[in-house]
């Protein structure tokens, strides 16, 4: 997939984002950018503003102030639909899959392909085309599920995550946001998800991974952005950073404050 993000222009760029809920300033002047073919880790303690930022990116929230640029152009998102139309897909922690439907049906949820049975009058689900498309993406993304006609209810946690991510990627997406993708997974399944993320990077997508698991973050990201109390306190190249650095930024220890503060 070709991306519009060049080495100099980010795919997604947020500048000076402010978001307040009543008396609480969830985000204060946060900058955030993602380049194509890059995996950015978004870390921070609970309440640091990670989910708020993700929801602003996904169009669920509208920022009170700040700039939102996609492929260099300024855009105004009024709803999650606008973000999806741009090619920004979010995979939330609950995955939003229908367990009673099979993998093919979930991959096409809301985007079912139809074929006419009685021309102009009756249209039915084009199961064949949908299954073909599903197989194609499963192969390309190295998703390991023996039969795509398996019901999601019968899949393991890692396979479900793979289905959710595959669904996010299948529809001309350019940016994928993953919220705690490995939180509920075992070792083997975590490896599968990490491989999937690397695949996305290879395809030129911009990937944002929110995670509490620093070893996963160090494993798969190119850059780490740390939020603390609604502000961006660091943006580190993963290769040049240490865990102590990141933990320090998360807790504020670099400013001389106590670890518990």
């Amino acid at each position: 997939m070709a991306t519009a993000g060049t080495p100099t222009t980010p795919l997604l760029e947020l500048k000076g984002i402010h978001k307040r809920f009543g008396a609480v300033e969830a985000l204060s002047g946060v900058d955030f950018e993602v380049f194509g073919g890059e995996v950015v880790g978004l870390v921070g303690d609970n309440g640091a503003g990670k989910s708020t930022l993700v929801k602003v990116i996904a169009g669920t929230y509208r920022a009170d102030a700040g700039e939102y640029r996609f492929e260099g152009r300024r855009v105004q998102l009024l709803s999650p639909r606008d973000a999806t139309d741009l090619g920004i897909q979010t995979v939330y922690q609950d995955l939003a899959l229908c367990e009673n439907l099979d993998v093919v049906a979930n991959l096409h949820l809301g985007r079912e392909q139809l074929t006419p049975v009685v021309p102009g009058v009756v249209r039915v689900l084009d199961e064949l085309s949908m299954e073909q498309r599903a197989w194609r993406f499963a192969r390309e993304l190295h998703v390991h599920i023996p039969s795509l006609r398996t019901l999601v209810a019968d899949l393991s946690g890692g396979q479900r995550q793979a289905v959710a991510v595959a669904r996010a990627v299948m529809w001309n997406s350019k940016i994928v946001l993953l919220d705690e993708p490995t939180a509920a997974l075992g070792v083997e399944q975590t490896l599968q998800v990490k491989e999937l993320v690397r695949n996305l990077r290879k395809r030129g997508l911009g990937v944002v991974v929110i995670s509490h698991n620093l070893s996963d973050i160090f494993d798969i990201t190119d850059r780490i952005v740390v939020l603390r109390q609604g502000r961006r306190v660091a943006s580190l190249e993963t290769g040049n950073a240490t865990r102590q650095d990141v933990v320090a930024f998360i807790t504020g220890a670099e400013f001389g404050q106590s670890v518990a503060g």
Partner: protein, 417 residues
């Protein structure tokens, strides 16, 4: 081909995560396991048991005359149960189906008898009333967010009152319009019955063969191997049923009584039609999706509210159709139309047949099979001159068993995932 639903899922036990599934992508195994979707299998076994038990007790049970009678008896409940299935698939409930069936039948009867409206129009308006009622109840529960249990319970009371009001002081309306009365009480010519059955079987086999050929050409793995067996079984059942109904049910009398009863044909047509809608159309997919996870459906862009309203409307429309058929069978509408056991039998039929009370699983064929179980128990009990008390207790026990089984398989699956 089509997404496996509850009844097919039983025959296509999917490769389980972590287990050595076959690499060619074909769902593994033929034998259904207790840890997945066993769908229609328990019902079929149950029917077999019932058939054997009652046949031993009274040989008359399995005669063509009695079996045809049984099919006619279950026609109204079967149609109402289709509507119940639609609502259950959403994960909702409709307690007003009995009252709606009675009220809409009364609308038809009053229009036909007291206002001289032609039969076809009166029946259509009766069913239309049902659609409107479903629309109203659907909007009240989906838009105003009042639980469907409450809205339809209010409907249960309200439409019952409306029935009494519309019938007026006489309390009964006797039907004489030939079309209305003929809906259940007439019989199709024998050749028509055979033609319909042959067409149905031919269509099923052709589409299965053609679908298989398309899959091979597209390089997709073949569908579940048990599908052919299921198809063979279904074809045998259809042809066997038509054969039975085409034999003379009145051998010692005159004139001979042969042919598929019209009502039975209507029931099977409606089941097939709504099976098509639920499994093959986008709307049907949306119904299953909302029943599986309304939140996931919403985030995927599915118009959840509209889907809910449409399903309730269709459900009540089918209740009305069932009411029309019930009135046809009785040659009248009276104050007890749609009352009594109608509601509970319809829900029990859907659930016994394999539709889950928790939403997202089921098929319209479950309406038919469940109605058959309930009807067979009632029919058999009548033949053996058992008191109603025994029938109630046994039907209640069967329902409990069916729901428990549904609950059990569902929880096993969640643990295994």
């Amino acid at each position: 081909m089509a997404t496996p639903t509850a009844s097919e899922g039983a025959k296509a036990a999917p490769a389980r995560a972590g287990s050595p599934g076959r690499r060619d992508g074909r769902p593994r195994g033929f034998a259904p396991r207790l840890q997945g979707d066993i769908g229609a299998l328990p019902v079929l076994l149950g029917l077999l048991v019932i058939a054997i038990v009652f046949r031993i007790a009274n040989p008359f049970f399995l005669t063509p005359g009695n079996l045809t009678n049984l099919l006619v008896q279950i026609t109204p409940i079967g149609v109402i149960a289709i509507g119940i299935v639609l609502v259950l698939l959403l994960g909702e409930i409709d307690l007003s189906v009995g009252a709606v069936s009675g009220f809409c039948a009364a609308v038809m009867a009053v229009l036909s008898v007291r206002h001289g409206v032609p039969g076809w129009l009166a029946a259509s308006l009766g069913i239309g009333t049902g659609l409107l009622i479903g629309l109203f109840q659907g909007v009240w529960t989906s838009v105003l967010r009042v639980p469907s249990f409450v809205v339809t319970l209010a409907g249960y009371l309200g439409w019952q009152g409306a029935l009494l009001w519309i019938l007026g002081s006489t309390g009964t309306v006797n039907l004489s319009d030939p079309l209305i009365v003929g809906l259940v009480n007439s019989r199709l010519p024998v050749w028509v019955g055979w033609a319909l059955a042959a067409t149905l079987v031919a269509v099923l086999w052709l589409s299965a063969w053609w679908g298989g050929a398309r899959r091979r050409r597209a390089g997709l793995p073949p569908g579940p191997s048990s599908r052919t067996a299921l198809l063979a079984l279904a074809s045998a059942a259809v042809l066997g049923a038509v054969l039975m109904m085409s034999t003379n049910r009145n051998p010692r009398g005159d004139p001979p009584i042969v042919g598929v009863p019209t009502g039975v044909a209507i029931l099977l047509l409606l089941i097939a039609a709504f099976d098509f809608v639920t499994r093959r159309t986008r709307f049907g997919r949306y119904v299953f999706a909302v029943g599986g996870s309304a939140e996931a459906a919403r985030r995927a862009g599915i118009p959840v509210t509209r889907v809910r309203i449409a399903a309730f409307a269709l459900g009540s429309g089918l209740s009305a159709a069932g009411g029309v058929l019930a009135a046809s069978r009785l040659y009248a509408v009276n104050q007890s139309s749609g009352g009594g056991e109608v509601l509970l039998n319809a829900i029990a039929a859907a659930v016994i047949g394999g539709t889950s009370l928790f939403g997202g699983r089921g098929s319209t064929w479950s309406a038919f099979l469940g109605a058959l179980v309930i009807g067979a128990i009632a029919n058999g009990m009548d033949l053996l001159a058992f008191a109603s008390s025994v029938r109630f207790m046994i039907t209640g026990g069967v329902l409990l068993l069916a729901v428990t089984l549904d609950s059990y398989t569902r929880s096993r699956r969640e643990k295994g995932g």
